[in-house]
């Protein structure tokens, strides 16, 4: 049985003909668009073979530009995540503290850094390192990119940690208190280990956001990541369209891998016998994304939509609906 949605009846003979007509019309429109693009590219000689086959024939394009660029992207993203994670845990727990003088400052810091564009933080960090530190010129962009990403993502991760701890069944904390653990012990030995497991998919999805945001450093601060190296390719080989297309494919492949890892982790956690089966999901719809998850809304908006719809948005139509109309 094909995947029928509840939004429409099983097509009868007329509906099948009509749908076929729509499909043909759609393909025609799409084809016209692509033909127009291809013609425009052809007019500007962007489809010439030598602009594209250098990616196969000239290995220097990979060894000098694209591969080192990809490595720098991964270095910046990895460093940012590794530094932001502990900070996020600290601030996330801080926001759950019983003491207002810990909770309030954490609230303010997290909300502030989530409301400010990550690019502003990078530009600020770059200048700050230039003025007040003796960080070498060559590595300063890396420092600035990582600093900007850490400030932003630590506050996003803090929200994820908080959501993770709050989604755990209340009995976990109560049981820990009942056997005489103190608040700190309850957090460290009982709540946090479970929360971290539940958060793993969200953390991996956040890595996608971080990878995408490293490109800001390439475009604005001259950090030698994949995008800025693609720009070098395009100036060296005069193949703007080809260079950016290949860079985009690399980014998409990398992010697709990470997204797949996240959903694999999520399924595994949800099906697993051990643990609570609670998963904090970094829902793509609730833009955990880029420079995103903005929400200056000072409520835990972040967690709600994801938890409310654990069935996910994978299937078109509605979850758990009968496939036969």
């Amino acid at each position: 049985m094909t995947n029928l949605s509840v939004l429409y009846d099983a097509p009868g003979p007329r509906a099948k003909r009509r749908n076929a007509l729509y499909a043909v019309l759609f393909v025609a429109v799409l084809g016209a668009f692509f033909w127009w693009v291809v013609r425009a590219m052809n007019d500007k000689n962007q489809l010439d073979a030598e602009k594209w086959d250098v990616f196969v024939t000239d290995s220097r394009i990979w060894t000098t530009f694209l591969w080192p660029g990809l490595q720098d992207t991964l270095i910046a993203a990895g460093l940012s995540l590794v530094i932001a994670l502990p900070l996020g845990v600290v601030f996330g727990i801080g926001r759950l503290s019983d003491h207002w003088w810990i909770r309030r400052p954490c609230d303010v810091i997290v909300e502030f850094f989530r409301a400010v564009p990550v690019l502003l933080m990078m530009i600020f960090a770059n200048q700050a390192y230039a003025l007040w530190s003796d960080v070498d010129r060559d590595v300063r962009p890396l420092y600035a990119v990582v600093t900007g990403l850490v400030l932003y993502n630590a506050s996003v991760l803090a929200e994820i940690v908080r959501a993770g701890v709050l989604t755990l069944p209340r009995g976990q904390g109560e049981a820990a208190r009942a056997i005489g653990l103190r608040k700190g012990q309850t957090m460290v030995h009982v709540l946090l280990p479970q929360a971290v497991t539940a958060m793993l998919p969200a953390i991996v999805s956040q890595l996608v956001v971080i990878v995408k945001d490293t490109t800001l450093g390439g475009a604005m601060l001259g950090y030698s990541e994949l995008l800025s190296n693609a720009r070098l390719v395009s100036t060296n080989y005069a193949n703007t369209i080809a260079a950016y297309t290949v860079a985009a494919i690399l980014f998409i492949a990398l992010n697709f891998l990470l997204t797949s890892l996240a959903s694999w982790l999520e399924n595994r956690l949800r099906r697993g016998k051990r643990g609570t089966g609670v998963v904090v999901k970094n829902d793509p719809t609730d833009p955990a994304d880029s420079t995103s998850m903005a929400s200056a809304i000072p409520t835990p908006q972040v967690s709600e939509p994801q938890l409310a719809a654990p069935a996910g948005v994978a299937a078109p139509g509605k979850p758990g609906t009968d496939p036969t109309p």
Binding site: L7, Y8, A115, V211, T240, A248, I252, P287, A296
Partner: protein, 223 residues
């Protein structure tokens, strides 16, 4: 302390006005295109579903910076798409809006699709039972309820978009981040300048978030 703030030299309000314009045009565009995409992704025509899915996955996994830079260098300079304008500044602005729409609409689409998921099955079934076709079911029954359910996620998308417009600085659109970089390079007061721009963005995003959060509660379908 604020002597760096020479409004004759630095068009602070103009820069933030550009940010607001970028946000508003891109928001309207991505709302329309995102709704169309969501419609395609739940439609009975397989090729439209495939296109919608492919589009969302491709554009959501591409860095926004790459899309914007490509719009400027690839579409603008190489292919000479001038976006119906003779002035180079207007062309850059419109290309940036085009890039933001291409990227943000994927999030609008996914938000809407999860909104469609919140509408009870019975609603669509009842609509079909009285003989409505797919387009009517979507337009008259499902989408109005879905939109009311996703005001809060869409508010998050809008706030993210507001912050994302800073990426337009990468192609020389003179919005807030662009001006901040210029000011930081010319003036000595780094921290006051940074705080000023951070404050500007908080002023832009905070009321939006609060208002739409209030609206989300108000229009939510009580179930």
């Amino acid at each position: 302390m604020f002597d760096f703030l020479d409004l004759e030299q630095y068009d602070l309000f103009g820069a933030f006005w550009t940010t607001v314009q970028l946000t508003v045009y891109s928001a309207i565009g991505s709302l329309i295109w995102g709704t169309i995409l969501a419609g395609m992704r739940v439609s009975p025509v397989p090729i439209m579903r495939a296109f919608g899915t492919a589009y969302v996955h491709i554009f959501r996994n591409t860095p926004l910076t790459l899309i914007i830079v490509f719009c400027s260098l690839g579409l603008g300079q190489t292919l000479q798409f001038t976006m119906f304008s003779d002035e180079i500044d207007t062309t850059g602005f419109r290309l940036a809006v085009l890039g933001f729409i291409a990227y943000t609409s994927t999030f609008v689409c996914e938000a809407l699709r999860s909104g469609i998921n919140t509408v009870p099955v019975g609603q669509a079934e009842a609509a079909r039972a009285i003989g409505l076709g797919f387009g009517q079911v979507l337009r008259i029954v499902v989408l109005p309820q879905a939109f009311r359910a996703v005001v809060a996620p869409l508010a998050n998308v809008l706030i993210a978009l507001t912050k994302n417009t800073t990426v337009a600085a990468a192609i020389g659109v003179t919005e807030a981040a662009f001006l901040m970089r210029t000011m930081i390079e010319n003036e000595a007061n780094l921290i006051p300048i940074a705080l000023l721009f951070a404050l500007g963005f908080i002023i832009l995003t905070l009321p939006t978030g609060l208002f739409l959060g209030w609206l989300a509660k108000r229009v939510a379908v009580k179930r």
